[in-house]
Structures are given as structure tokens and as C-alpha cells.
Symmetry: C2
DNA sequence: GCAAAAGTGCACATTAGTGTGCAAGTTCTG
DNA sequence: CAGAACTTGCACACTAATGTGCACTTTTGC
């Protein structure tokens, strides 16, 4: 109520609220229990001012989650490739480029309290991934030794781990590592992964497709 | 000093200290910031009594890490298989059976403060894994598209994720899922993984090696 | 330019956890 | 059994964080 003035809402207020959400996401990604003082300061505001936008820490975190949900939704709807393995590659790459968001979601989900809400925010993405997996299993391009449900989760965990725990600056990586890992988990041999990356990469000219030793 | 009486050390004190360490590991695995009251209570002691064994929280956590280090050391020394991929399988399976320990290590390592100590406690295990990877790459049984150092870390992260984040009770799993994931990450196609698990499993008779469609 | 909205700066109450001191009990160990 | 080792149960000081109240300044919008 106090946080839904609906009509009058000053420009600087909108900007500050947005900045708070962005900074909260970044700080939480770095440390799940970042203090409100830290977040407010990062947004160039006082801790006291933060309470003008969010009634308490809980409200802020929920807003961060919902903000992330929109983005995840966009990603889920945004991918469009010819076949399952390409979709998987695209999905992984896109998430890699949203590393901070993925990181924050993972950090928030550590708290029991936000488990269900975080899960809900990831729902569209999960549904998309599940569809890809089922499709891939049907056409025999994705492994058949693990049930679709389990494999979907396995791929999700793998991607999350790679994105969250790898230094984005790592020279060897450049988004290729997560893709290699995910495709491997999907069931491809490393030679197949290599061949696929070599052919699909319209850019990435410097990366030679030499393959084995 | 006050915690190295060396000679006189009553039996119940030894037992309680050990119980404290065990409970601390379990509680920290469940929640990285478990309070000392929670830990002491789990061990059937008072928070005040805990301070008789460990000067402060830091000392307790360090003791937990060092206790884990011994166990990891034993695992690193304990594996002995004919070839790299079998060693990888055995290593993964053993760690799976030490889930609580792996979980606690991962939880403690979340704190900047204990990063280096945790890393040191895992050193023997990492060295063993690195040796397996290098060996496997030399003989061509393990993927060659990723550097040994990166692949070692990749396998470690994959195994940790699976062990920490999967419900041990899951019917489909029974230690096979982590092994499948690790072998896939090592570069094998899912059919090769399937074949390997079917032949290696001296037990596990019910699992049919049907393979692809 | 003026009123309302938004932000500042402080003081304050509250909570949960850590670490210590001390007097009193309980439990080993020789 | 006697004495030492261990544990208990409190009381206490201290810290870091949350959330609120209020007077005051700055910014925005009409």
C-alpha cells in the first residue's frame, strides 16, 4: 500500500528504486547476506531511504526475485534454434551472459524462505529446458539412460555451477566451457562436442577446430 | 595451549570433543552459519561447555576442516583401479558415500576466511584427481579439448554439485548419477558410459544395459 | 516559486549471536 | 573416597544487523 502510490511517483524515486534493485542483485550475488546498509550505499542512498522504497528486507529480496523472473522469462521465450542441441547451446550461452542474475538467484535460493518463490521465477526457464530435453530424447540426440526429469535437473545444476563458480574473465572459458559441459552432460562424446562447436561457430575464427592430439 | 593438555584428558572429554566435531560438521553441512548453541545442543552439551574444548568459533571450524582433511586424505590414498576411468568412477563413488563431509567442506568454503584452509584440506584429493586426468588424457581415454587443469576443476565441481545438491534417497540415483555425470564430463558419450557401467558393475544385476533405441 | 515527495542524519529499541566470569554441581580416575 | 577434570547455569558485555520516529534539507513537478 505505502509502496504502491500508483499515480504520483517522482522520476528520481523511480530511478533510485531501480538502482536499489540492481545493486541488491549485484551485492546479493556477491554475498547472500549483504546488509541493507551495503546495498543502499552501493545505490548511492542511505539505509534509511531504502525503507522508503521497501518495507523491509524481505520485500526487497522478493522484488529482486520478481525482477529476475521477468528476465528469465525473456530468455525462455527468446531462444529459437533448429534442433534441441542447438537450443541447449543457445540457452547456456544466454544464461552465461546473465551470470550476475544467475548468481543472485542461486544465492537467494540458499535461503529456505525464498525457495518456492525462486523456483517459481525459474519456472518458465525450466519448462523450456524440459521441453528441449524431451524433444532431444525423442529424436535420439540426447542421452536416453536418464529420465527426462532427472536429466533436466542435471543440466540445470551443471549450467548453474559452471556459470556461478567460474571466473568470467578466465581466458580458456569465454562461454565455451559451460556449453561443452552441458553438451557432454546431454550425452555427446567430446569429439562430437568439438565438431559441433567448430561448425556452429559463425564467429570465433581464432579457435582452431584441431580436435584430438 | 589451553587446548593441548597433552597428558591428562578424561575419557568423557575426548568423547564430547569428538561428538562436538561430528555434530559441528553435520550442522554446518545443513546450515553454514549454524550457531554454537545449536551445535553444542546437538552434541548433548551446553554452549558454555563447548568453549571448554574450543577457544572460539574459529577454532572449532578449523578443527572440523582438519578432521575432514584426514578423511579426504584416506580417500585419496584408498583408490586403486586399473585405468583412469575406473579410478574416476571409484573416486566419485567414494565421495558419494561421504556426502555429509563433502557438503560441510563446500559450506565452509563459502566463507572467504576458510578458503585457503579448505583448499589445503582438499589438496591430496585434488592432486590425485589431477594425476588421473593427466594420465587419462595421455592415453586418450579422457577428453583432450580442455586443458588438464581446467578439466580437473570441472570434474571436481561437477562431482561436488551432484553430491551436495542431490537427495541421497533419490531412487534413480544410488551413486550412479554422479558417476554418469563425471564420466560424461570426462568426454565419454552416453552409450560408452552405459556400456562401462554395465560391464564394471559386478553387482547391480537388475540394471539392464539396453542402451539406445 | 511553492508544496509535496524524496532523502538525510540521528537517536532509539530490538534481536540473535559471540565470548567471558564465576559459583555450583557432576563425573571420572587414581 | 578425594581431588581433579569436566559440565552446568547464570549474568554480563559486546557486536552487527534490522526496523522505526522525527526534524530537517534537497529535489521535483506543476
Amino acid at each position: 500500500m505505502a509502496h504502491t502510490p500508483a499515480h504520483t511517483l517522482r522520476r528520481d524515486a523511480v530511478r533510485n528504486r531501480d538502482e536499489l534493485l540492481a545493486c541488491a542483485q549485484r551485492e546479493i550475488a556477491r554475498d547472500p547476506r549483504a546488509s541493507l546498509a551495503t546495498i543502499a550505499q552501493a545505490a548511492g542512498l542511505t539505509r534509511r531511504a531504502l525503507y522508503g522504497h521497501f518495507s523491509d528486507r524481505d520485500a526487497l529480496v522478493r522484488a529482486v526475485i520478481e525482477r529476475g523472473a521477468e528476465r528469465f522469462n525473456a530468455i525462455a521465450n527468446g531462444i529459437a534454434a533448429a534442433e534441441p542441441l542447438d537450443e541447449l547451446t543457445e540457452l547456456t550461452t544466454r544464461l552465461w551472459h546473465e551470470a550476475s542474475l544467475v548468481h543472485a538467484s542461486a544465492a537467494i535460493a540458499l535461503e529456505e524462505r525464498y525457495l518456492s518463490l525462486t523456483a517459481a521465477s525459474l519456472a518458465p526457464l525450466r519448462a523450456r529446458l524440459a521441453a528441449i530435453v524431451e524433444d532431444g530424447q525423442r529424436t535420439g540426440q540426447i542421452r536416453g539412460d536418464i529420465s527426462a526429469a532427472t536429466l533436466t535437473r542435471l543440466i540445470e545444476e551443471t549450467a548453474r555451477t559452471l556459470i556461478v563458480r567460474w571466473d568470467q574473465q578466465d581466458a580458456e572459458v569465454t562461454a565455451q566451457l559451460p556449453v561443452r559441459a552441458v553438451l557432454s552432460i546431454a550425452g555427446l562424446s567430446w569429439q562430437d562436442v568439438e565438431a559441433r562447436l567448430a561448425s556452429t561457430s559463425t564467429s570465433a575464427a581464432t579457435k582452431g577446430a584441431s580436435g584430438a592430439r
